[in-house]
Amino acid sequence: MLTARALAAFRGGRLVFRDIDFDLAAGGALLLSGPNGSGKSTLLRILAGLAPAETGQLLWDSTDALADPISHARRLAFVGHTDAVKPGLTVSENLLFAAHAVPGSTGKGAKRTGRDAAIADALDAVGLGALADLPARYLSAGQRRRLALARLALRRDAPLWLLDEPTLGLDVASVARLGALLQAHREAGGLVIAATHLPLPLAGAGELRLQ
């Protein structure tokens, strides 16, 4: 489904990587590893269409994925190394904007309760259901990370999940919950690409080592 051909990137005038090639089929997973500064986050941002690749191609079902960044954005969910959590909003309000993309969740009345149910469901998936009404400024670093990961549970329709150090600061139980979320996503035919230094619960994932 997703194919990278000879991707290369410069950052600050320095070549961070070149000749990145991989193929991912439906249900596949890829771990990006390598020392600090080897370009894992840069590669994820290129795959998300946020940063341009210097050379090379990214293909989705054999068509150029980055030709239309908006439709590419619609088929992916991205969890960066920052949590994108607003301290002034409550835990569930932090997910409101991400939830507008959930199918059948716009508008008022019945559809609105559909959106709220999707948010509650996403919070339960990362074990934050009990904290839904707490202002996010009271969350610990690990809980903020889980709130960022809850966006994935809202975007189960997005086939491509891009994760940058998803388990940073997570406890053992939360890593297991993330593992279950990723497993379910892959069983439904989704792709997972994660940059990480820590072992991730991704059975049978390929590994791409950046130098």
Binding site: L50, A73, F78, D83, L89, E93, A101
Partner: protein, 221 residues
């Protein structure tokens, strides 16, 4: 369209939670306006003559205040990536930000301009032209400010660059806006100045979000 509405809703919700930041612009507007009588004396004929200009300069400076954090906060905490990946074009993200800035800064300034004008003994006939000018004027300031704050995003000393970029672009707004109120206060028609202001708005409405969207894409890369 639902994405755009969700974005504007998110921005309004955020400003409501940071009410102190939101009200800071209006408070600054009042405080700056009240400094003028203290500095130039309370003589009604002098103050009244200067009132439209004072209100406009204060509105311009007050609208600058929240611009630095307009994209800065989202850029720092990673929310900007989420906005750019939300399925909206970058220019629509910028347009949503501009609309939200206008609703939480421009509209309160519009409302506050009347009491400030009264305090400065602005001639009665000028009030209509002042508000009619501030309506497109504050919208223009939001659009120009959004474009400029997207351009300086990620730059060092962005806070210093921002007024340097916005103020020259705002000069026509200030000239036509203040001239409209001035003309009305001496019994002339404010219409030509208001039409020029609206023409500027018609050009900025499509161009500023496009420029801001391109700048946002560049900053995220």
């Amino acid at each position: 369209m639902s994405g755009f509405a969700a974005l504007v809703g998110r921005e309004l919700r955020l400003s409501l939670r940071q009410l102190a930041d939101t009200l800071a612009a209006v408070l600054f507007f009042f405080v700056a306006g009240t400094l003028f009588p203290l500095a130039i004396g309370p003589a009604p004929e002098v103050l009244g003559r200067m009132a439209p200009g004072i209100v406009w300069v204060c509105a311009l400076l007050a609208a600058l205040l929240p611009l630095e954090r307009l994209f800065g906060a989202d850029f720092d905490d990673g929310s900007l990536d989420q906005l750019l990946l939300s399925g909206l074009p970058a220019s629509a993200v910028a347009a949503g930000k501009a609309l939200a800035h206008w609703l939480v800064t421009g509209v309160p300034l519009l409302a506050a301009s009347v009491p400030l004008g009264l305090m400065l003994r602005m001639p009665e006939p000028a009030f209509g032209a002042l508000v009619a000018g501030l309506l497109p004027g504050t919208a223009l300031l939001s659009l120009l400010g959004t474009a400029a704050s997207a351009v300086v995003l990620g730059a060092r000393r962005g806070a210093v660059l921002l007024p340097v970029l916005v103020l020259p672009l705002s000069v026509p707004v200030l000239i036509f806006g203040a001239a409209a109120a001035d003309a009305a206060s001496v019994g002339l028609s404010a219409r030509p100045n208001l039409l020029l202001l609206t023409a500027y708005l018609a050009a900025a409405l499509p161009l500023c979000p496009l420029a801001a969207g391109a700048a946002l894409r560049g900053a995220a890369a």
